[in-house]
């Protein structure tokens, strides 16, 4: 008896349809690989912004005081001209009185400490 011929047509297999490229397991792309440059970019931008703000708000250095260079000739004192009556004895006496007045007023004793009232015992205290 002849063996039945092996059918050439293979039974259909359940192969899923391929809709796109098939990657190997290790080659699946991760999301952070695309976000990372964005984060770095934003970071650089923020850093740049901080630097700008810092530069703008930084207190300005105090202007360097220009010290006068000492010279050998001193600044001349303005010449004051005495009044016509300033040398008269009446004015000189007035000047002396005026100059002494503040010390006279501040040095005067207004309240004499030696006149403080005596302190005495009032109640005799014979009641026990």
């Amino acid at each position: 008896m002849e063996e039945a011929p092996v059918p050439t047509i293979l039974p259909p297999t359940n192969t899923p349809p391929v809709y796109g490229p098939v990657y190997s397991r290790g080659g699946i792309p991760k999301k952070h690989t695309t976000i990372l440059p964005l984060i770095i970019g934003v970071g650089i931008f923020v850093l740049f912004l901080i630097i700008i703000l810092f530069t703008i708000n930084r207190p300005k250095p105090a202007p360097v005081a220009v010290l006068p260079t000492p010279t050998m000739t001193p600044t001349p004192t303005p010449i004051r001209i005495l009044s016509t009556f300033a040398t008269q004895s009446a004015f000189l006496q007035f000047e002396q009185s005026v100059n002494a007045l503040p010390a006279t007023i501040s040095g005067a004793t207004l309240s004499d400490q030696t006149l403080d009232p005596p302190s005495v015992d009032l109640s005799l205290g014979f009641q026990k």
Binding site: T84, A86, F94, P102, L110, D112, L115, V120, D121
Partner: protein, 259 residues
């Protein structure tokens, strides 16, 4: 010629105050001694209640009460002399406050005169309450006189200030055309400043007089508090005079130079 005559009048006044002060110090020493003796005698009597202790307490109480009156009389005399010597107190005020002192002194004299007549310890101890009752009035009148003395000192200082201010004003008026316009404006500013100080002083002084006239208190503690407040006012008034004197120096410097 004038100077010896001045001292001739000044010396007795000075001596009078000095003498009454020395007497006051002596009376105070006596008082302290009598107080110690009285306290010892009283404590002995309270402890032993013996007749001898009672007699001793009676005698020491008499001495103590007499000396307490004498101490205040000496003190009032000192105040009276100080009032007389103070050139800043007006004759009218001197009269008023001398009368006040005389009235207090008369009370003490009357009180002291009753002490020798006390025949027992009970009698003599009954003479203390009138003094105790009068004590607040006495302290009030004493402080009033002390305030008047301080105000008198203040018035003397103000008189000196007024004299020099008048002299400055006379110089300003006499030389009104001498100075350039700008300089004259500065001079006028100082004159105005001095006048403002004078006005402030006058107001402060009037307030002090008013406070003195109303001066009273519930007890000695309150009297002391009010007395110290018035003294602070006196010091403030003095400060106004010091400020005015500083302004006078500025004015003098302006007047001294033409530019």
């Amino acid at each position: 010629m004038i100077l010896p005559i001045f001292f001739l009048f000044a010396l007795p006044v000075y001596a009078s105050s000095q003498r009454s002060y020395q007497d006051y110090l002596y009376q105070y020493d006596q008082y302290r001694q009598n107080l110690t003796d009285f306290q010892t005698a009283k404590n002995t009597y309270l402890q032993f209640q013996s007749l001898a202790a009672q007699t001793d307490a009676y005698n020491k109480t008499k001495l103590f009460l007499t000396q307490r009156d004498n101490l205040f009389k000496a003190y009032l005399l000192l105040l009276s002399d100080k009032l007389d010597e103070n050139p800043g107190v007006s004759p009218n005020d001197k009269g008023t406050y001398q009368q006040l002192l005389a009235s207090e002194s008369a009370f003490l004299t009357t009180n002291a005169q009753q002490i020798p007549g006390a025949i027992s310890l009970n009698d003599v101890t009954s003479l203390s309450p009138p003094f105790e009752n009068q004590y607040k009035t006495l302290q009030r009148d004493i402080r009033k006189v002390l305030i008047i003395l301080a105000l008198g000192q203040l018035t003397t200082l103000n008189n000196s200030f007024q004299t020099i201010t008048s002299a400055a004003q006379a110089i300003v008026t006499a030389n009104a055309t001498v100075f350039p316009t700008q300089k004259q404006a500065t001079i006028n500013q100082w004159v105005t400043q001095i006048q403002l100080k004078e006005q402030s002083y006058q107001k402060q002084y009037a307030d002090l007089i008013d406070s003195t006239n109303k001066f009273d208190g519930y007890d000695v503690r309150e009297l002391d508090q009010k007395y110290n407040d018035i003294l602070k006012g006196v010091t403030n008034a003095r400060q106004l005079l010091i400020d005015g004197a500083s302004n006078l120096i500025e004015l003098k410097d302006e007047l001294k130079y033409i530019n």
